[in-house]
Amino acid sequence: MSAETEPERRDLFKNSVIVMLTLVSVFAALVTFLQNYASLSSSDLAQRSSFSAVDATGLYFRSGLTAAQGTDVLQRYQEFVQRSVRADTKARALRMGGEAALAAEYDLEADRWRQAADRVATSDPLLAEFGQDLAWYNEELSRDAYREEEKEHTLLEQSRVWSSKANGYVAVLSSLSVALFLAGLSLTLSSRLRYLLALSALGLTLACGAWVLAILFSPVPVVPDEAIERFVEGRIQYTLATSRGEDGSGSLDAFDAALELAPNYGRALFYRSLANTDSTLLAKHLDTQQAIDDARRAIELGNHTSPVYGNLGWLYYLNGQYRSALEHTERALEMSGDDCYLAFNHGLIRLALSQPEAARDAYTVAIDCAQRESSDAVFNYYMDVGVTDLVELAAARPDLGDTLNPAIERLKEALAQVRLYGMLQDAEVEAKFGSISFGGAVDSGDIVQDLASEFPQSATIVYAQLTFENVKPESRWLTRWVLDGEEYLSRAYDSWIYGESGTTWISLYNYGGLTSGTYTLDVFVEGQLVTSGQVTVLPGDLPPMTYFSSTGVGVTISYPTTWNVTDLADNEVSVVAARNPASADFFGVTAWVASTGTDEDVFQLFDLYLDALEQDREGFSAEAREAFTLAERDGWLNYYEYTNASGELIQGALSGVVDADSLLTYIVVIEARDAEWDEQVEMFNVMLERMTIDQ
């Protein structure tokens, strides 16, 4: 009985294993097909991604050329406008001298160039549709390239997933080959071990079946075209905002819309994270936690790139999570060691973690990177931003005490050394400087007077008192005024001429008026920071202003930085004028040889100008002249109004003074639209106060 049953059992076992072998082989054939399909899909998508990349590159190139053409046209337009302005300025000046006929000719010239400018304005979309906004125009031109670039990224992402599936199937096939081997081996044995081997083969095959199902149903990310459109819109808005120095919050809606359509859109998550990233610690106002969550999700979705890790490191720093900040910043540095901003963040985070030794090493790498990889301008930028970040950290973390000062000094000195010597150069300096005091005047003994740490917006000059000892005459030194983190003025000197010990002063001036803000003055000797101080120019209603000295007219005028200046002197007239290109605001000065040297000269020129206006302009009327102080001299003022060729009511004022020394009469013409006159009056008064006669 038992002798007969055993061979039957063996046959049954053998046949069962053979059936299993055939089934496993068929299953392996199916997996091979799936692997082939996945592999082909991955290859196809990768090549299509490459195609899109090439296409995007071409589109970027084309948009760059078109933008350059727009810039050419804009340049030409502005040249024509300036010609028109110049002719108009001259016409006004000629009218002041009673040359009405000649003025009419220049009116004609102004009109001609204005018409030429108008024609040019319609010839390019930059002017006709984009209001001369070059950044906006560039971004719109790049829209197709952005779209194609997104296709490149999404196709590549899909290719990666298919490649991962193909690799998974290869692993399944390897496992199935082991199952086949075990099953085959079981046929060669007669002991009970054969059952174990056969069962192992069966178990492995079943596991492979489950594995294949898991691979088969794992999703491939699909980003709909509509989501890409939304993303591109967000990217354009984000880039425009950053180019204008604004935060990227305006682009959040577009990124939200993209993510609503494609929740696993990794690049949209990264860009939304960027749009929610504050650039400074103290002015933090965006949703940092949302930005962190988005960046983490982008990484989970496979966006393992240095920008994502670098930005996430910065976000953790802003959030006070310094360990995570360090981890992610170091990960980004491993990927992109030459991205200098990462090295600076690294040093900053080390200091936030109270690790001064490690921070020193990190800043050594950062400074070296900035010197190696950047132009002088960008090197300066890195140093200034590095200092600003450290100053903000010191303000946000008083517990760190003075531990940040060495790093701040080091960055400042690195900049000074590169500025003085063109390279980093450490030197021992014996010179000692006291703290700096600021004032509004200097007496005859070179002592700064009217000491203050805050000055009104009307200030045009600030003096800094330096006290020093042990300064060698051959010392090279440098002064640097930094306004709210950006260089305002810097001067380098090859020698020290103020003696070994004593006091002296330096000044910061802008005859147009110092820009409001907090100025930091740093003084370096041989590239070493010897003293530092801060002074504030308080804010006010005036816009940022500058000045222009006209040698032809012999005056210095101040005006808003957004205005344009025309300065011309020929055998017909000398005039300097500042005008607002966006309105009718006008401030012009002419100089005339005085015939009597008395106020009569002023009156005569007033009359000539007003008569000419009355003759040429509709709705002219003038008030009686009144005494007025101009350029610290007794002069006169005469208000008037008229309607210009465009039908706008223009308010104006003539001011005049005779300079007894040079026997010249100076006439100032101020004009603005009636609706804007009141809000401009204060600025016009400041411009009149600041005007100086130089000859």
Binding site: L23, S25, V26, T32, N36, V54, R119
Partner: protein
């Protein structure tokens, strides 16, 4: 009787073994063809991307030339406009009795015309588009691009469409062969079962294996004919 059965059984086994060997060989051949088709698909697609790169290179050069032409054309057109505009003012100035201004403007207009003519020399004039009045209003950029592509095509492959069509064909072929490979394995499975089965059921397995194999051969023949006749 038992001897006859034994002989029949042996003959059956021999036939099935031969069939298994044939089907296995076919599987190997089909697998190799599927691999070749997949490789061809990848290569064709790669060639398509290279053709696209060539095209972008050619177009890049063309766009640079177009930019130069646009610049020259703008100079030409603006100066020509200025010339006519200035002439309007010459008429106006002279009508108002300002002869010196008229004279100065005439000199300026002459200069503008010279600059316009100078710029014209830098334009590929064959691509200028004129309006009904004969005034040049723009450049025929699409034709400029096409002409440059035509010239470039003499020396390099810039047409990627055929490559991508080939890639699609090879990919479909590779997948088709891969799918038939799976069916060949089914045939092999039934033949193997026929080999190990002792009962009458072995005939069913044999029939299933042979029918599948014949079906596949028929499918190859039909698809081959469709392909040969260009119907596919």
């Amino acid at each position: 009787m038992s001897e006859t059965t034994g002989k029949k059984s042996e003959r059956f086994s021999t036939v099935v073994t031969v069939l298994i060997a044939v089907v296995s060989t076919v599987i190997a051949l089909v697998a190799s063809q599927a691999a070749v088709a997949s490789g061809d698909a990848t290569e064709a697609q790669h060639n398509g991307v290279l053709a696209k790169i060539n095209l972008e290179r050619v177009d890049g050069g063309s766009w640079t030339q177009i930019a130069r032409n646009r610049r020259a054309f703008n100079d030409y057109r603006v100066n020509r406009d200025l010339y006519s505009l200035t002439f309007d003012y010459i008429t106006q100035a002279e009508a108002e009795g300002s002869s010196p201004l008229g004279t100065r403007l005439r000199l300026e207009a002459a200069g503008q015309l010279e600059e316009s003519n100078g710029a014209y020399r830098f334009i590929d004039s064959g691509y200028l588009i004129a309006d009904e009045a004969g005034e040049y209003v723009g450049l025929d950029e699409p034709n400029f691009i096409n002409d440059k592509r035509q010239t470039a095509a003499i020396y390099q492959d810039i047409d990627y469409d055929d490559n991508f069509a080939d890639a699609n064909r090879f990919r479909t072929e590779g997948l088709y062969l891969g799918a038939t490979l799976f069916v060949w394995f089914l045939s092999l499975m039934f033949l193997t079962w026929a080999e190990i089965t002792k009962s009458a059921l072995r005939w069913v397995w044999l029939a299933a294996g042979v029918l599948i194999a014949l079906g596949l051969v028929a499918a190859y023949v039909v698809s081959g004919m469709i392909s040969a006749l260009g119907l596919g």
